[in-house]
Symmetry: C2
């Protein structure tokens, strides 16, 4: 979908999606685009940026709302197709994911109408005024395989943020769910028509060759890139984009360590084991925030937790994976090679569908600390490594050895206060989101959320991929106006508050007043 | 100055500064550090970050205030040394620069005491809370040669922002003014003692070899890097830091185009020529915001402006440069080779001191557009290129051909409204700061300032190197707390407003209230 219309791809190849529940290809093929398609999309994206200079914010907001409505109207087909292509359950999972997606689009629309996200800042004495503004170039969004709707390049969080900032988006669909993406894109086309935004506000390409992807993100016509996916793919794109001065935002996943303190396990070890099992196997463990590491004290309370978790992992049925499960066996083998003991699972589930046994491994904290880098290999599935620690000091040492992660959690009781302080001090700077007494897989779409964290979980510790308005700022430039005549200023910087209720930072204070 | 004390450098070489007014070396030598010094500074910086976790914000604020006082107390020696090492006039230039520096430090102290910069954000329904926090690792700051005090690595804007965010700083002094930096660092030591911050909050190294600089910024112990200086040096450091996932903020200068519209020239062409001359030759033209490009209409009003500017540039005495002037001749030769005609100046000033004639070149807009990349070579000195355009459309085409710049200006009269709209549309997205009817060299240190701009003027269009609180956010991580018990939260996120007046973003609105 390039330049406002569905056109025949100038393709170099084609591909098919797989049905993971049946372990077979879906009988419909999609194009792998050539650079000719990429070039056309970039040119149309630049044109759309120019047109957007004159499009009022309210029209962008209308598009976002209309798009949410169009997705709701086509809900059944989108959910069914996503189910076929990903194996994820239609209900409640994919239906909830679709509802989250339309909620994100509507939140973005509200942010655009409200306008406070632009952070209009005025110093009246010097008459210098500034605000966030569009990049004036298209944003490329790469979606991951594990959220076919809510993180889809053509409908998800990065998409909503980039559009809300006033930029056109060129989505690179995830090859795992091309049909889902197509139906979402059809809904986008409908909303483009009803809202009156530029026709190339949304474009999308099913797939490009790896080397063409690098050329794509490093083109000078690109304003920024949002990428959610694998570390290997993301870091290759980062190198290309960085070299061209193109900002790139990555969400590369992590192992999300959870620390269970002694008092909490004594008081409610069984319930925590049930929490852990549910979180680690949710969506077959294919969450960026999956609890892949659990640090458990040695001793009786810890042993009881491990025993209970082992029972739950051993008894529970393995959910269907998004794709072929070979990489999970490879990941488990790496952990075993570096000293982890396999406790439960570890093998493929027999049959046609793509599935891997719910799996637990264990290692002692000193062994982990001896080989901490290799043992932080992310295994993207229903797999977790239990680390047994002799003391809060040893737990803190494990926390200090962690790479940058999206989340870190601590379960504690009032008796654990000293241990909590010790572990939290070393864990806090290594994670984007610190949790108490809950598993990390839940992710509220609220302004205070941080779905981000230090490198290599993402590319920058100051940004979040989820949460409005913060996620919008990634796709904006800072525009300053020095002594510019009032009638030439954009509406948010004029003396009169353009909505009557827009928050602006005036002479060091937040205010909704007009400037006098 | 490493690990809280002045120590003998494990140096690999030594260097001397030059006195530009006398064209000779200053008789005092400084060390070029080995990696042993760098390693020691990084280790001490990491220790300081750990200690800072328990240091209240008010102590950081005390340090910043005490440091400003200590600089004021040693003002004479600092200004005199800077004059010797840079050739810049002591009065008013260096005295004003010192006053700006202490003002920046005191503004940073106020921001730390006030706490609103952390952008405490709360969603009460989900009990998710977030704020900006230190990087938990030291920040390296590289200062430029042209502002020996206000952008000094050990005292300037990046320094103040990094410290305000709660990070230790390791400054790499600019080799152009090592003595100035030493005296500033002595004032920092005094303030460290009086305020009680960790001894390694501020460290500094005079110089490292180029290859060691790359190793330095790509070390995993580094939280972020601030660099102000040449494009070549900055982009080499960016590549190294990017590869290691270390955020780096660059301020690489630009040509700062100024567009003079017909009506403005008719009404006040002579005054604008005087403005232009003063701005372009200020500090011998060695400003990042120097107006290196002026776009002038063809025709009588434009001719009168060009004639007047030529007279002023021809008559005015050339100020002393920071260093040997050879690169200016090279730069002018590049512009001439690509079609620019030399109008005035263009040669070295005879004598011992470092000086280059005030220089104007001219070219037509079509010629510029034919070779726009080479003709945007920045010539860092009292040199400007006049571009003669036949129409507002041609001016807009010149604007559209500009690379990313820190600033862009337009002089206009009421009769120029249509031309203004045309030029501004293409200029706006290519500059960080858009000015009306003033030259770009003035830079108010206010919250709404943007001293930044699109690549390659900087490395990211969303950040500014000047202006508090925005410049502080560059050196912060986003910390989110999900369901964390209230007594374990940092003060800005607790229910009670910690200062009674801290601005917090609560459930979508800015407020200074307590949470109920």
């Amino acid at each position: 979908m390039i330049g406002g219309e569905w056109r025949q791809s100038e393709s170099v190849d084609s591909f098919v999606a797989l049905n993971p529940n049946e372990g077979r290809a879906i009988d419909r093929s999609f194009p792998v685009s050539s650079m000719a398609d990429v070039e056309a999309a970039l040119d149309a994206g630049v044109d759309a940026s120019r047109q957007l200079r004159d499009v009022p914010a309210v029209v962008i907001a209308d598009f976002l709302d209309d798009y949410a409505d169009a997705i709701d109207a086509d809900k059944r087909r989108i959910v069914d197709t996503a189910h076929d292509e990903t194996g994820l359950p239609s209900s409640p999972r994919l239906e909830a994911e679709l509802a989250r997606t339309t909620d994100q689009l509507r939140q973005a629309a509200r942010a655009v109408r409200d306008g406070s996200w632009v952070t209009a800042t005025v110093d009246t004495a010097s008459n210098v005024r500034s605000m966030y503004a569009p990049l004036d170039k298209p944003v490329i969004v790469f979606g991951p395989n594990n959220f076919p709707i809510a993180f889809n390049g053509v409908a998800g969080g990065d998409f909503a943020a980039a559009i809300a900032a006033g930029n056109p988006v060129i989505a690179k669909a995830n090859p795992g769910h091309p049909g889902t993406t197509r139906y979402l894109a059809e809904a986008a086309v409908e909303a483009i028509g009803s809202s009156g935004v530029p026709a190339s506000l949304v474009q999308f390409i099913y797939r490009v060759r790896g080397e063409d992807g690098l050329t794509f993100v490093s083109d000078e016509r690109v304003g920024a890139v949002g990428f959610t996916g694998s570390k290997r793919g993301g870091l290759a794109l980062k190198q290309a984009a960085d070299g061209a001065g193109v900002p790139i935002y990555l969400e590369l996943g992590s192992v999300n360590p959870v620390f269970l303190l002694e008092g909490a396990l004594e008081a409610r070890g069984e319930a925590i084991a049930a929490d852990f099992y549910a979180s680690c196997t949710l969506g077959a463990g294919q969450y960026c925030t999956n609890p892949g590491f659990v640090v458990v004290p040695t001793g009786e309370a810890g042993d009881r937790f491990v025993k209970k978790a082992g029972e739950l992992f051993g008894q529970g049925e393995a959910e269907t994976l998004l794709g072929e499960p070979g990489h999970l066996g490879d990941g488990v083998a790496i952990l075993e090679k570096h000293g982890a003991d396999l406790m439960v699972g570890g093998g493929l589930v027999e049959g046609d569908r793509f599935a891997f046994e719910n799996t637990l491994l264990a290692i002692t904290a000193p062994e982990f600390l001896d080989d901490a880098t290799a043992l932080q290999t992310e295994v993207f599935g229903p797999v977790s490594l239990l680390i047994r620690a002799d003391s809060p000091e040893e737990m803190a040492a494990v926390a200090a050895a962690m790479e940058g992660n999206l989340t870190g959690g601590i379960y504690s009781d009032p008796s654990d206060e000293a241990a909590y302080a010790m572990v939290a001090a070393d864990l806090r700077p290594r994670v984007g989101r610190l949790l108490n007494d809950k598993m990390p897989t839940g992710l509220a779409v609220v302004p205070s959320m941080n779905h981000g964290g230090p490198y290599p979980a993402t590319g920058h510790p100051g940004f979040t991929a989820v949460g409005i308005p913060a996620s919008i700022h990634r796709f904006a430039a800072l525009y300053c106006y020095d002594n510019v005549m009032e009638h030439r200023l954009p509406a948010p910087l004029r003396n009169k508050n353009p909505t009557g209720s827009m928050w602006r930072f005036i002479d060091g204070n937040w205010s909704t007043d007009d400037l006098s």
